[in-house]
Structures are given as C-alpha cells and as structure tokens.
C-alpha cells in the first residue's frame, strides 16, 4: 500500500498529497489540471504555494478541503485518507464567503456554534479575543457589507481560526486588496501564524508575498500542474518587512525566479493560453521596488529567446 513516502513529503508532514491527478470535462473537452502531484505540508509550518493564475491552485485547494475528490492518487491527513469536507481543514477563499445576514460576531462564532462542542460562554469569549486580535472588536455588530475589504478578510481569517483546524488553507486570500491593505493583512496574518503555529497552506501568485510569509515555498508548474520544487526559506521569525532586503531573501528570490521563468518559457513555447499571463506576472516580479533584478537574467522580454525550443 503506502510503503514508500512520496519523494517531496518528509516524515514531518501532517498532510500528504501523493500522486494526485485531476481533470475536468469529457472527450476532447477534457483538460488535465493536475498530473501526478505530490507534496507534503509540514506540521506547524507555513507552506506557500506559488504558480501562475489558472495553473490549478484552486483545484488543488478544493481537493485538500474535500470539496472534490481526485481522479487518482490519495490525500492523507495525519496518515489517514481524508473524506469529504470538515472543520479540520478550513479554507479562506479569494472572494469573501462571510454570511451577509450575520454580524461579524455571529460569523466568527458560527463554527463553534454549530459544532456544539464548547459552551456558549467559552466560545463567545474566544470570539471576542480573536476579534480584538485582528482589530475588529468595535465592528462586532456590523454586517459584512459594512466592513471594508481588509476587514472582511480579517473576519474571515478568524472565523476559520477559531475552529483550530489542523490545516488552514488560504486560497489567494489577499488578492484584489490595495497594496497598503495587502501589506497590512500580510502582517496580521504572519503574526497570527507566529502566535498559533498551525499548519498552513497559503496560495498566491505574488513572489514577494510568498517569500515574506513562507517557511517553505512550493513552486508549481503550469498545467497539468505538479510541484516542481520546494525551496526552504530560511528567514528568521518573527518576520519583518525589513527582511525583504536581506541576502537570504535575495538568494531565495533568485532561485524562485529562475524556476518560474523556466515554466513561463516552457508554457509560452507550448502555446498555453495563460502563458502570457505568466510572463507578465514574471516580468512584474523582476521589476518590483528596491529589489535589484537577479544577476545574469535581464528583465524578460516575453518570448524573445528560447522560443524556438
């Protein structure tokens, strides 16, 4: 049976994805999204998964959360195959999924309220504590529509956290926020993580965000996606934004950029629809503020070199 541990998952892995494939559509419309995808999520570590938009990250999250099941391969949590969805694996989505008819307080306390394991007094106290932690105490009686985008994300974050899931799955949770709010949210999130040290999987398309948050960086290939490489990010915790100029950061960034660039060129040559996306995202990464472009690689002009390969 599971005699051999998958190559990319170590013994410390709490969640193991082993040779998972998933496709959609029938016949000629069939699209293979994931192919033989294997990796592990280490206990108490923040793993960040990065890949171009449309490469299958959300599909992967849906599989891990149990909303869908893989065509082949298996997903293990604490050594046991997962079945369906449950409060042990919670997702914070791209778009807000706060219930519009509940106040912030009711939203955050929803999990414990329906699970009926804790007494009302205990979970209400816990809710208040978490709301205070993310600066939403004064907004506990407001409805989601009355909160700003950043506040909604924070409310959603603690609505998941209060259940103390074994795995937190963050599906591009800060996408679409303005740069200031985004930086603020990254800080909130990294502090929450550093206090609680749960097992987290954070999905993003932004390399800088990825490196700032990650203990381990999982780099995905284009469709059909699998994990290309795992980079250990050796930056100390607690994380500070000032670390973004450190040498360690530069080294990680360069390695990641090279890997991502390879993928971009490959998919561009293969005529993958979203390759243009990928290249654009890549060129943005190379140009971002204050950080010099990696040595030996000029800013990529989409597809002017190895295109013929």
């Amino acid at each position: 049976m599971t005699a051999v541990q998958p190559a990319l998952a170590s013994l410390a892995s709490q969640m193991v994805v082993d040779g998972v494939s998933k496709g959609f559509g029938l016949g000629i419309l069939h699209q293979q999204v994931l192919h033989d995808c294997s990796f592990g999520l280490e206990r108490g570590k923040l793993s960040v998964m990065i890949g171009p938009s449309g490469c299958g990250k959300t599909t992967l999250i849906n599989l891990l959360a149990g909303y869908e099941s893989p065509d082949s391969g298996q997903i293990l949590l604490d050594g046991k195959p997962i079945s369906g969805q449950g409060p042990d694996r919670l997702v914070v989505f791209q778009e807000t999924a706060l219930f519009p008819w509940m106040t912030t307080f009711e939203n955050v306390s929803y999990g414990p309220r329906v699970q009926r394991k804790l007494s009302r007094q205990v979970y209400e106290e816990e809710t208040m504590k978490l709301l205070e932690l993310v600066g939403l105490k004064d907004f506990k009686d407001k409805y989601p529509s009355q909160l700003s985008g950043g506040m909604q994300r924070r409310a959603e974050l603690v609505r998941a956290m209060i259940n103390q899931p074994k795995i937190m799955l963050m599906d591009e949770p800060f996408r679409g926020l303005d740069a200031m709010t985004r930086a603020l949210m990254q800080e909130y999130y990294v502090r929450l993580f550093e206090q609680h040290r749960g097992t987290n999987l954070f999905v993003t398309t932004e390399l800088e965000e990825a490196l700032f948050l990650a203990d381990r960086l999982l780099i995905l290939t284009n469709r059909p996606a699998h994990v290309k490489k795992v980079i250990e990010v050796g930056l100390p915790r607690p994380r500070e934004f000032s670390m973004l100029t450190s040498r360690e950061y530069q080294v990680c960034k360069q390695e990641a950029l090279e890997l991502l660039h390879e993928e971009a060129i490959k998919s561009f040559a293969a005529g993958v629809v979203n390759a243009a996306d990928f290249l654009e995202a890549y060129s943005r990464m190379g140009n971002d503020q204050a950080v010099p472009a990696p040595k030996g690689k000029d800013t990529p002009e989409p597809g002017n070199r190895e295109l013929s390969s």
Binding site: A65, Q85, R89, V91, A97, Y110, V114
Partner: protein, 268 residues
C-alpha cells in the same frame, strides 16, 4: 465607513430631509396638478372636464370622513386583504422553501403549480363563488391566490440561487443539515421572501378591488362601483383615492416588516 454614532435618532438630519428642496418640489407638483384639474373642470375641457373638480371631491371627502359607513368599507377591504395575504404567507413560504430546497418535491409539485399559475386570480372569481360557501370566503380565496403564487415563485428563485460559497463555507465549518436549512438557506432566502411579499401585496389590492366590484356588498371596491351606479361622481374619486392610500399604507407596512426581517440589507 459607517461610524458607530448613528444609533440615536438624528433630528437634524430628519429636519433637513423634511424641509428639503425635493419636498418643496413634491408639494408644488401636487398643488399644480390640483389647480390644473380644477381649471379643466371649471372650463369644461372635453373629456377631462367630466371629472368632478377637486373642490367638490374635497367637500364630499369632508362629509365622508365623519361617515361610519365609509370607514366600514376600509375595514372590510383590509380584513379581506390581510386574511388572504397572511394565509398566502403561511402556506406559501413553507411550500416555496420546500420546492426550492428539495428537488424531488420540486419535480412532483412544480408542474401542477406551473399550470395553475398563469391563470389570473380574477378568472377564479366565478368558480370561487361556486365552491366556497360564502362570497366573503370566495373573495378572500381570490385575494389569497394573488399573493400565493408570487410568494412561492420568488422563494423558489431565491432558494435556488443561493451562492455555493456560503453552503461550502457552512458545511466546512461543521454545520448539520438542520443548521444549513435554518441558519443558511432560510436567511439567504429572506430577501426573496420580502420581494414576494411586496409584489404580492400590490397584487392583492388589485384583486380585492375587482372582486368586490363583482361579488360583494361592502369594501372600497364596492364603494367605488356603487357610487358609479348611483351617479355620485365625487364619491367615485374618493373611492379611487382611498384604494390608492390603502395600497400605499399596506406597502409601507410590508416595507417596514421587510427591513426588520433583513437588517443586513439596510443602507446606513
């Protein structure tokens, strides 16, 4: 961002709203309308000139306001409306939720429902008069039909268009099926219930007035028709306006209840 201070009653804002330019224009529009109407009547403008002028309507209204029979018409119509409307909600809301949530029920019941629905409520009047023991019951029944179909249809639509994200999130957080129904589906459908109620209330007034003209000896619809038969023209206008005011009041009541039911949709 909304501030926390908006809890108390804001009198300054209210005053500003009451004495605003929009209010002034509204009053001016009504006054100009009344004056034009009066002039048309005085100078015997063809067709419009046959309508009794506001002056005589107002004089008649002054007498009617002190008349017990006039207020009895209000009472009778309102009882019919409210009975039909409330029964429609009591039966329609659960049925709508059942059809919206349960596919088997929908496949079994909806076809029959779809055959009955396009029949205008007023077309039911003759058969209703035949099978209900009293005219009163048949009118309430027809009123009920007017609201019932609207409510059920709106709820089915609302329940079926619940965003899958909410259901996913709710299941993930550990909800039972009961939680999903009571804490997610019912509140998510409330806005559609309110819409159904609002539209349904409008339809019930249209239906009850016509039904009263056909099959009743009382109510605002009957009052209007009776005045026509008796040739009391100012009274026709009063009947019409009373129906308008009654309809407006009922809608306002529904809006009030609706906004209580869906506090998260209020704009602050």
């Amino acid at each position: 961002m909304p501030q926390g201070s908006g809890q108390g009653f804001n009198t300054v804002k209210l005053k500003k709203k009451i004495f605003s330019r929009a209010t002034f224009r509204g009053i001016a529009a009504v006054v100009v309308f009344a004056v034009l109407w009066e002039l048309c009547s005085r100078f015997q403008v063809p067709i419009i000139g046959n309508v009794p002028p506001p002056s005589s309507v107002l004089k008649e209204l002054g007498q009617q306001l002190a008349n017990k029979a006039y207020w009895l018409s209000w009472k009778d119509s309102f009882i019919r409306i409210l009975t039909g409307f409330i029964v429609a909600q009591i039966l329609g809301i659960p049925l709508g939720l059942l059809l919206g949530v349960n596919q088997t029920a929908r496949e079994l019941i909806y076809p029959v429902f779809e055959i009955m629905r396009p029949v205008p409520p007023l077309a039911w009047v003759p058969i209703a008069v035949i099978f209900w023991p009293t005219n009163e019951l048949s009118m309430i029944f027809v009123t009920f039909l007017g609201a019932f179909f609207t409510v059920v249809l709106n709820i089915i639509g609302g329940a079926r268009s619940i965003d899958a994200r909410y259901l996913r999130a709710a299941y993930s957080l550990g909800s039972t099926r009961g939680d999903i129904f009571w804490k997610i589906m019912v509140p998510a459908t409330l806005p559609s219930i309110v819409v159904g109620m609002t539209v349904g209330m409008g339809i019930t007034w249209a239906v009850v007035v016509a039904a009263e003209m056909i099959a009743s000896r009382s109510g605002l619809g009957f009052l209007t028709w009776q005045s026509y038969v008796a040739g009391d023209y100012p009274m026709i206008i009063i009947g019409m306006m009373s129906i308008g005011v009654a309809g407006y009041l009922s809608s306002a009541l529904i809006r009030l209840i609706g906004s209580r039911m869906t506090p998260w949709l209020r704009s602050f």
